[in-house]
Symmetry: C2
Subunit: 235 residues, 2 copies
DNA sequence: CGCTTCTGTTATAGACTATAACTGTTGCGA
DNA sequence: TCGCAACAGTTATAGTCTATAACAGAAGCG
């Protein structure tokens, strides 16, 4: 391999082929789950044979990692593209949550990719962690102006400690809530709670645990988010 | 196969071997994840060779299904064994939630087994669904006496409709909250919200998404549950 | 006491990941 | 413009794993 070029016609063709491979992989993923993803089948589908794929992805895990990274990026874009109703943070929060759920429900297999843990000892590469953070970034300003309920005090305290210890996180949050340390801690607290709430409703829905039950993921999410908005007295 | 006997020394030996296989499988699962589970390795570990395992489990999926079913049963037992502080529903709710999280954190691989979706089109067998329901049963009476916040109205309405349409669910809930339809709908609403909350916090924690972040799953869960208790005005 | 059922074996087919060794092609610079 | 180095693709092959087939021995039940 040794540091492949980044420009020129060859690099362009290479990127295109990588994209085609990922497309085919996503199609397989959509119907067979992670187990259904077989490199040899992808290759056959693209008219090439077996080992040729290894020119583009070092291994099956490498391909999966690329798909995960893409999924985070795509999810972050979907959330970032959420409309701002312009009627205050509460409506904005609902818009963000709806956008995230909409993305997840439209492509469950990609959400499952994000949700899952490949292997117990696995730790995501830094680039992926940054993408994961990007998904949550739009939530920060929503909570910055909120007033957290007394029950959230323990989490707020932990967030304060985290912000003091980790400069990178502090910088990330401060960019979205530049109104002083208290607002920063509040923003981070609300965002983490929102993250957990989103994962609770969407994760269960996407995993099919709601089928045959008398409620929709839509209603459940809206209600949970509304409770969260009230806990922060959002206007 | 054809309807194997259920008593006698042979059946007993069979059950013991099945248990040993499942034990070995869980050990593999704990270190290698679902992908690390290889029937041939399990067999080697038990001193038998390869295909012998198929006398006890029809396939890899069959073994995984048994593990999932066991996990649900074990989780339900852990929740059912949660202590009752005796100081009202709010403390009881915290005790139930803590018990569930404790079980999940102690054996993450088994929680991931429950959480995961084997394949997109997969639907759990009825026996497993019943076990899944058993996990939530102790939560029902906690919410039966609560007063749901206005924001939960849409979910309550859907629960009412579900109860009216599905007699089995109605019977299940009524056994834990026999005070009339309104209390029944409230109990079911609270339980579903609690389920979602639990999955949100525990799922993220067990999947390792909290590592390096400045908060603990413990604090986050307690806070979320406290917010839920307030939404139902639990005493 | 013999037969049937159950448990285990080896052999084997088939799918898949991954590497090795080799061949053809293409773009880039001297 | 021509040569070569980097690259894309091939077949062959090793190794792992699931699963079935065919067969051999042992245990229990009537």
């Amino acid at each position: 391999m040794a540091e492949a070029r980044t420009t020129g016609p060859r690099a362009r063709y290479r990127e295109q082929t990588r994209a085609e491979i990922k497309d085919a992989a996503l199609r397989q993923l959509a119907e067979g789950g992670t187990d259904g993803l077989a490199l040899v089948k992808i290759a056959k589908g693209l008219g090439m044979s077996g080992p040729a794929l290894y020119r583009y992805f070092a291994s099956r895990d490498d391909l999966l990692g690329a798909l995960i990274s893409d999924a985070y990026g795509d999810a972050a874009a979907a959330v970032a593209a959420a409309p701002d109703p312009g009627t205050g943070p509460r409506a904005r929060l609902h818009a963000l949550a709806t956008a995230y759920r909409g993305w997840a429900v439209a492509q469950p297999h990609r959400y499952l990719l994000i949700q899952g843990t490949p292997t117990p000892g696995y730790t995501a590469p830094p680039e992926t962690l940054a993408s994961a953070r990007a998904v949550l970034t739009p939530f920060l300003p929503v909570f910055a102006a909120g007033t957290p309920a007394p029950a959230t005090a323990p989490v707020v305290a932990q967030m304060r400690a985290w912000l003091a210890a980790d400069a990178a996180v502090a910088a990330w949050v401060a960019a979205s809530a530049p109104d002083g340390t208290e607002a920063v801690a509040t923003a981070l607290t609300g965002t983490v709670l929102a993250w957990s709430t989103l994962h609770g409703t969407i994760g269960l829905e996407v995993s099919g645990h709601f089928t045959g039950m008398g409620h929709t993921g839509d209603t459940l999410l809206t209600t949970q988010i509304e409770l969260l908005a009230e806990a922060f007295s959002l206007g």
